[in-house]
């Protein structure tokens, strides 16, 4: 143990002696650790976010198509299925988009179709009467609105005045940041739906596994309908974000590779000095094994500290400072961005994996130069100088 500690102390002292080399290698590794873990952590939290929320959705949504173009659907189009034992409820919904020129953004206009209690994510209440609305936090922030304020919105029949009854908090921003929730009558008049038709039907099932069978029944009843299954949305999301994060990671991996190449070059390039040092150590009674341990300790201490610092900085950057540039890169530009409040999914095992990805290759590439530098003829080296 004492021997090991002395070797460790010697390895650390050697890192300080070669300050410039240690700092440049350490900084390179820190930068890569930061970028790689930021991309992975961001992807993990976004994936966890939609995986958590998707169970709140109805299993099927049915849209009417006519001639390949979307049409609205009658509320009782699936009346025959209402008594089906596999179906819990069929809810006709009114929703659409409203373009707000001053923000160059689209609001999601939705008619309220339920009255759930939302004490922690809603400041105020849901709209109960005509002329009232509840909005998402980004919309409220961009328009400077608070509960009790009034706003005129450009509807299908000209401007209409509404009073804000509630604002969703920033915790729900990723879901409802751009939402404007109205009573059905107001939503219809804003969107210009002046008949009895609905945007779509949301179908909640008693058992999600029956989704395919019920979708087939619906297809027979409404041959032109587009039936979107919840599981399909989940898959599409997993694919699209996996793709973007994978693209980012694919960009970063060559950087890691080229860094390792440079590190290899530097570690084996400075071997003259190291061979001399190894020669002196061998003469003063060190064993070959000690020199190898010393080199491994040196590189794993350097890469361990750099990786740990890089991962910690990535965590701070993502979850404390809300990922200023990376979020734009991953999500793209938008005129109304959500408040980027993600829940970190960092676990001990994931942390270990990240540290291993970064430390092991770096330590591994330092072993061969160490072999070469330790395998010297000490006598000849000291006789002939370097």
């Amino acid at each position: 143990m004492k021997r090991f500690l002395s070797l460790l102390a010697f390895a650390l002292a050697s890192l300080i002696r070669r300050k410039r080399r240690s700092l440049s290698l350490g900084f390179g590794l820190l930068l890569i650790a930061f970028l790689l873990s930021a991309a992975l952590l961001l992807h993990d939290s976004i994936r966890a976010e939609y995986e958590r929320l998707i169970p709140g959705m109805a299993e099927l949504s049915v849209h009417q198509l006519r001639g390949g173009r979307p049409e609205r659907i009658a509320g009782d189009a699936l009346k025959e299925l209402e008594s089906h034992p596999g179906i819990r409820s069929i809810t006709p919904r009114v929703w659409g988009y409203l373009y707000l020129p001053p923000l160059s953004a689209n609001l999601t206009v939705m008619a309220k179709n339920g009255d759930p209690a939302l004490p922690t994510i809603l400041d105020g209440t849901l709209p109960d009467n005509e002329g009232e609305l509840t909005i998402g936090d980004r919309l409220a922030h961009s328009l400077g609105l608070r509960p009790g304020d009034s706003i005129a919105l450009p509807g299908a029949a000209g401007f209409q005045l509404f009073t804000v009854r509630g604002v969703f908090t920033s915790d729900s921003s990723l879901l409802a940041g751009d939402l404007a929730l109205f009573t059905e009558k107001d939503a219809r008049s804003l969107l210009g739906y002046d008949d009895e038709l609905y945007t779509d039907l949301a179908i909640a099932l008693s058992a999600p596994s029956e989704a395919n069978a019920i979708a087939a029944r619906i297809e027979k009843l409404l041959p032109g309908a587009r039936i979107v299954e919840r599981s399909a949305i989940e898959r599409a999301y997993a694919l699209s974000f996996g793709q973007r994060a994978g693209f980012l990671a694919a960009l970063l991996l060559p950087i890691l590779g080229s860094f390792l190449l440079i590190a290899w070059d530097r570690l084996s390039g400075s071997s003259d000095e190291e061979r001399y040092e190894a020669g002196v150590l061998l003469i003063s009674g060190w064993e070959f094994r000690d020199i190898l341990t010393f080199r491994i300790l040196e590189s794993s201490a350097l890469s361990g500290i750099a990786a740990a610092l890089g991962i910690s900085l990535a965590y701070l950057y993502l979850f404390i400072f809300d990922a200023p540039l990376l979020a734009d890169l991953l999500l793209g530009w938008s005129s109304l961005h959500p408040t980027f409040k993600l829940t970190p999914m960092l676990h001990g095992s994931q942390l270990l994996m990240l540290v291993a990805i970064l430390v092991l290759p770096f330590t591994a590439i330092s072993i061969l130069p160490a072999f070469r530098s330790a395998n010297v003829d000490a006598d000849a080296l000291l006789r002939g100088g370097r």
Partner: protein, 109 residues
């Protein structure tokens, strides 16, 4: 002995302390935030039932990007028939025409 320890090992000791402390902070902070989120998750799922779908709000710049799985197939062309890019949210910056200032040209006298 103490002086040499200070010179050589103290910076490393401090750096290791900071880096390991950083990892511990990340782990503890992450578990606190997960616990907070667990308390909110039922309400968030109830909120999803008030929305067209659980799709996350990443872009409001184009209506076909807000709920991509539910949007109508013709929306990109219907909105911008002459647009080059059907996915403006794939870019880092807004389309040029949005932030280009239109100034009347002043003729030199």
């Amino acid at each position: 002995m103490i002086a040499s320890f200070r010179r050589t090992l103290l910076p490393f000791f401090l750096l290791s302390l900071v880096s390991i402390g950083g990892l511990f902070f990340a782990l503890i902070d992450a578990s606190i935030r997960r616990e907070d989120e667990r308390k909110r998750v039922d309400e968030k799922r109830a909120l999803v039932s008030l929305l067209p779908s659980a799709e996350l709000f990443f872009s409001s710049s184009a209506r076909w990007l807000r709920h991509p799985s539910l949007s109508e197939p013709m929306a990109p062309f219907a909105d911008t028939p002459s647009g080059f890019d059907v996915d403006p949210a794939g870019a880092l910056q807004p389309p040029l025409s949005l932030h280009r200032e239109i100034r009347p040209k002043v003729q030199p006298e």
